[in-house]
Amino acid sequence: MNTSDDANASRVPAALDGNAAAGLLQQIFAIDMTMAQITCGGCQSVQPLAALRLYGLPMGNILRCPRCESTLIRAVARDRECWLDLRGVAALHLRLSS
């Protein structure tokens, strides 16, 4: 993991993936979300959250479907509050630890 120092004027930062959103999401959900299986509301494909494409840094985390690029999860988190839009997710499947 080495999230981009995206300052170069002519270089668009390549998409990271859901691994880089793990900290923000764990801040919100208090559990590791990287292995949640996400069903895309756009194309119905399923992949782990870690495999979603991540944009929007540093304003927020925008997770998109790697197949159809639909926006699945939008999240903004600051120290004391967060905003979350999960409308793009048709289903989220997580194993809960016993």
């Binding site: 080495n2 999230t3 981009s4 990271l16 691994n19 900290g23 208090a30």
Partner: protein, 245 residues
């Protein structure tokens, strides 16, 4: 699992790995330990309050008391030039983690294990290999590591010592230029190289691919085209870095 909170990390050592990569040994108050492959969020605060945050993989083995981060200097970057050129022993910053259960390998997952790294993508795989050396030597493992030139190889000493393990095969490829006596591969990782180096899909291997985004996607697609089920290929993308394949 506790909610993540920011802890203070103090640099206890800085080691040069390559011209632009450093590994930082950190002491972190209350560090709960990590699984091999996990990462941390690092937050720097300037004297005037300005903050910047990045994520870095932990390259040390799970059971060591000090955390190690491998930082590659990105040209015109904001955080990595500080961590690789300015930061020194005694400096402090904030750190949050460990984070990320997806890119973790433990012995319970079994093998055979295929690890593919581009540039500084070797960092989480180094943690996996260090853990494996201590706790799971029997798992048949192959590492394929791609860098631009021989001078860009990170963790040279560790690669040498890991090579002695008969159950671990290490293959290097140089994408930009190679010394005349080079007997590794040349060029970027592609399906042809993977056909020779990777386990056959029939062996049901587990693959971990880490490095610059373009390389990770290219390699993951190639593995799937070789028959690896998508669910058996775990990926972690870095942004563009000074190291690219």
């Amino acid at each position: 699992m506790p909610r993540l909170s920011w802890r203070t990390a103090e640099i206890v050592a800085v080691h040069r790995e390559t011209a632009h990569a450093r590994r930082l040994a950190l002491r972190v108050e209350g560090w709960p330990g990590h699984d091999a492959g996990q990462h941390v969020d690092v937050r720097l605060t300037a004297a005037d309050g300005y903050q910047a945050q990045r994520s870095y993989s932990v390259s040390s083995a799970p059971a060591t008391p000090e955390l190690e981060l491998l930082v590659d200097c990105v040209p015109d970057g904001e955080v990595s030039p500080y961590l690789t050129r300015e930061a020194r022993v005694g400096d402090r910053f904030e750190l949050r983690g460990p984070i990320g259960g997806y890119f973790v390998w433990t012995a319970a997952y079994g093998g055979p294990l295929l690890l593919i790294a581009g540039g500084s993508g070797i960092a989480p795989l180094a943690s996996i290999l260090a853990y494996r050396a201590a706790a799971a030597r029997g798992i048949v493992t192959r590492l394929l590591y791609s860098v631009r030139t021989a001078e860009d190889i990170i963790f040279k000493e560790r690669l040498q010592s890991w090579k002695k393990d008969p159950a671990l095969a290490i293959t290097l490829t140089l994408t930009r230029s190679a010394p005349p006596d080079w007997n590794g591969y040349r060029g970027r990782i592609d399906a042809a190289m993977l056909r020779e180096v990777a386990f056959a899909a029939a062996e049901a291997p587990l693959a971990y691919v880490c490095g610059p985004t373009a390389m990770v996607e290219h390699v993951a697609d190639a593995l799937v085209s070789l028959g690896y089920p998508a669910g058996r290929v775990r990926t972690e993308r870095f942004g563009p870095s000074g190291e690219s394949t």
